[in-house]
């Protein structure tokens, strides 16, 4: 897609909050964040075929890093962003290099352990992480003297989403994206074609983890609070459900899955209360059994019968 189209998509997404009230703007921008996360996770899980549960933890690592750097260590904003990304990359490499060299589910186990360890560290982090209560009552520093608030900050999130989408879209259509799919489909044949399987996995994991970290940094100033329960495994699995229900391996599938599963509880809770997780479970099982290509697969079948 051309740069003009991406810009058009950004303008459209960034304009929406100016027509919404505060409550709906909050729902809207959280939906955009979920879509951003699902796009990155889809690249890792759906396109590169790696089962990892750390994507949401990296979202948390990004959020906590930027807040701690800015307000505990008084690092200036641009440097805090760079260092926050660096933290995500270092942690991602530390997990990926040993575990992707092993076969199959070791990455799943290692990332599950990382996700659990991260929440424990947040809770036990004392004054650095704020413990159970997390860190609150901070505000985004002014950027070039401007306060970015309300619907304008939603513009930052729209830019994050469109930037992430454009990056992953480009990667997917390059030799790197094809190598990722080859690694997913048949690692031995991929190696025979000259693809360095371990390296491809490490790059895909590190890149998508860093993207999750950047999304986390943006999230940190949505509610101006970060606390441990948000970054637990519930949301890590919700992200997996979003990608499966939408259609793993397809960007549009990730968008549809994330938007649907994020918005569904708002419609379901008047009917079933907090049991919407049960509905999600049924949806995921139905998707795996009946429609492995997800909702985007249904759409394809409808368009090209």
């Amino acid at each position: 897609m051309s740069a003009a189209r991406w810009l058009g998509a950004f303008v459209l997404l960034a304009a929406v909050p100016f027509f919404l009230g505060d409550y709906h703007n909050d729902v809207y921008r959280k939906m955009l964040l979920w879509v951003t996360l699902a796009l990155g996770y889809n690249f890792l899980f759906g396109i590169c075929g790696q089962v990892a549960f750390s994507h949401f933890a990296f979202y948390g690592i990004g959020a906590y890093s930027v807040v701690i750097l800015l307000f505990q260590l008084n690092v200036p904003l641009p440097l805090a962003i760079v260092l926050g990304v660096a933290v995500c990359i270092v942690v991602a490499l530390a997990v990926a290099i040993p575990s992707t060299r092993l076969e199959g589910f070791y990455l799943a186990l290692a990332t599950l352990a990382l996700a659990q360890l991260f929440v424990v560290l947040l809770n036990e982090g004392g004054s650095v992480t704020g413990g159970n209560g997390g860190i609150a009552n901070y505000r985004l520093p002014n950027v070039f003297g401007f306060q970015i608030r309300g619907p304008w900050y939603t513009g930052v999130i729209a830019a994050l989403l469109v930037g992430t989408y454009a990056l992953l879209w480009r990667l997917d259509r390059s030799w790197f994206g094809r190598a990722c799919r080859a690694v997913r489909d048949n690692p031995e044949a991929a190696a025979a074609m000259g693809v360095d399987v371990a390296r491809t996995k490490v790059i895909a994991f590190t890149l998508t983890s860093a993207l999750a970290g950047v999304a986390g940094m943006v999230y940190a100033f949505v509610d101006n609070t970060v606390n441990p329960p948000i970054f637990g495994l519930d949301n890590a699995f919700l992200l997996l459900f979003m990608v499966i229900v939408g259609g793993a391996g397809r960007h549009a599938g990730a968008v549809i899955g994330a938007a649907l599963l994020f918005l569904l509880p708002f419609f379901l809770s008047p009917v079933v209360g907090h049991h919407h997780v049960l509905v999600f479970g049924v949806l995921v099982v139905a998707a795996i059994l009946l429609q492995p290509k997800g909702l985007i697969g249904l759409y394809d079948a409808f368009r090209r019968p």
Binding site: F176, R181, A182, N186, A189
Partner: protein, 253 residues
């Protein structure tokens, strides 16, 4: 005089107490089709896998274009210019035919993903992939899902995908296995065309009827050791070969 592309010297592989390949020597020249035949268990597949880097050798040397390649991982051997097909087709099932071919060109991408001449390079590789589809005769299924291909088309895809890596040496692992007579004819024609382009071809094959009319030279293995080598006609006339293959499997011609 065509130059030597692949030199195999004293290649030996032992699995525990079993010696699968013993002190094997042979060369493959550019533009030459060298066939390696032998009955089941003769060490053909082991030889193939040693050269392709699938597992380590116990002893010996394999040199490609003068450089030792034994012990390199498969992706590095591919990057040097040695591409292979699989006996059981192994397409990338989530991709179209043309995308499969482009994966074969992986080692021929030198630009980045975003900047510079990335777009030109992609377009150039795509053109080349389309030429290869024409060459093997799969142009009409260019955008098809690989899952819809016939077994024979799948074999041709294996070949085109490997050629996309612009090899100097092509390794074929039993390319005749499972094909119909018409498909055999087509695959043989494609292999001749590859050699005619100056690419060295090493062909591991069980089916003598397929191999003997195709190969320029033949190496015969039995119990892991070379028992004969020479021109196809010499191999046909060699009693040691007919003995090794047993009466019923010997070629009648």
């Amino acid at each position: 005089m065509p130059s030597v592309v692949l030199e195999v010297r004293q290649l030996t592989k032992r699995f525990g107490g079993l010696t699968a390949v013993t002190n094997l020597d042979f060369d493959v020249l550019e533009g030459e089709i060298l066939g390696v035949i032998g009955p089941n268990g003769a060490g053909k597949s082991t030889t193939f896998n040693l050269i392709a880097g699938a597992y380590p050798a116990t002893a010996g040397e394999v040199r490609f274009a003068g450089q030792p390649i034994l012990g390199l991982p498969p992706h590095k051997i591919a990057a040097r210019g040695v591409m292979r097909t699989f006996q059981h087709n192994r397409p990338f099932v989530g991709m179209s035919v043309i995308e499969n071919i482009l994966v074969g060109a992986h080692t021929r991408f030198h630009m980045g993903v975003f900047f510079g001449k990335a777009r030109d390079e992609e377009a150039q590789r795509l053109r080349r992939a389309n030429e290869l589809l024409d060459f093997v005769g799969l142009a009409e299924v260019r955008d098809a899902d690989v899952a819809t291909l016939s077994f024979g088309q799948g074999r041709l895809l294996e070949i085109a995908r490997a050629l996309a890596g612009e090899p100097k040496l092509m390794l074929f692992d039993e390319p005749a296995a499972g094909l119909t007579p018409a498909e055999l004819e087509r695959v043989a024609g494609v292999i001749r065309g590859i050699a005619a382009r100056g690419i060295a071809v090493l062909l591991i094959e069980h089916d003598m009827h397929f191999l003997l009319p195709l190969a320029h030279r033949v190496v015969v293995l039995n119990f892991g050791a070379k028992i004969a080598d020479g021109l196809p006609d010499e191999i046909r006339a060699n009693p040691a070969v007919t003995d090794a293959y047993l009466g019923s499997h010997a070629p009648s011609r």
